[in-house]
């Protein structure tokens, strides 16, 4: 199982912050596609950065069973 975190507008579209994928291994890019298929309104996930286990990760990075993958829309702190 891979845990997915969604924030800000992504969280609002999906209606919850956390979802789970049953994959054993999947790339960040594949997760994006999978989620957008599942939630057609989630197109903004394309422009979100991704983080695997709290470090930013490119689309090619592989997530494994037990990893935590977060999608981070453009930030606006400060």
């Amino acid at each position: 199982m891979i845990r997915i975190l969604l924030f800000a507008e992504l969280e609002e579209v999906v209606g919850k912050r956390e979802i789970e994928l049953s994959d054993e291994e999947i790339s960040v890019g594949e997760i994006r596609e999978k989620l957008e298929k599942q939630y057609p309104d989630l197109h903004k996930i394309r422009s979100a950065m991704a983080a695997v286990n709290e470090e930013y990760a490119e689309n090619t990075v592989l997530a494994h069973e037990g990893d935590l993958v977060a999608f981070i829309p453009p930030v606006s702190g400060g």
Partner: protein, 157 residues
């Protein structure tokens, strides 16, 4: 010492507490940047803001910004506290404190910190106006996404 130099908090930030974390016998200068909620942004009247964060990663990234400043100015001490939750006009959202032996470095470090926060720290604000609300994706006070979507070049990065 349980003092945390890089924190996301829910309660109002006490400015002097953040500053006290960077005090040092060899600091001659402390620069503090305080980000507050302003009422008007591009002519629109904000009623209140809501900040949310990916807390553990945000604290890690704040700490990384501190490391980046110390890589440049080895004698610098850095502390950053960012508040989340609902904030009213004039409330303090973030306090950055950077102490250095010489003043120019404290300005540079503090400026660097606020710019980096807007680039890499997973914190989001949602503005609430009289006629609506919106998550803001404006890291650098330059881009607004009126249609809620950055343009393609921005997506590439």
């Amino acid at each position: 010492m349980t003092e945390k130099n890089f924190e996301i908090v829910q309660e109002p930030i006490k400015i002097e507490e953040v500053i006290s974390k960077v005090e040092d016998r060899n600091a001659g200068a402390i620069n503090t940047f305080i980000g507050t909620v302003r009422e008007l942004t591009k002519g629109k009247k904000t009623l209140y803001l809501k900040y949310d964060a990916y807390v553990p990663m945000a604290e890690k990234k704040l700490s990384q910004i501190g490391d980046e400043i110390q890589a440049k100015y080895p004698d610098a001490k850095v502390a950053i506290t960012h508040r989340i939750g609902e904030l009213a006009i004039s409330d303090i959202a973030v306090v950055i404190a950077v102490s250095t032996p010489h003043r120019a470095d404290s300005f540079d470090g503090s400026r660097y910190a606020i710019e980096r926060i807007k680039e890499i720290v997973p914190i989001w604000k949602k503005e609430h106006w009289e006629d609506g609300e919106k998550w803001i994706g404006d890291q650098l006070e330059k881009t607004a996404y009126p249609d809620g979507k950055p343009n393609p070049e921005e997506v590439q990065k």
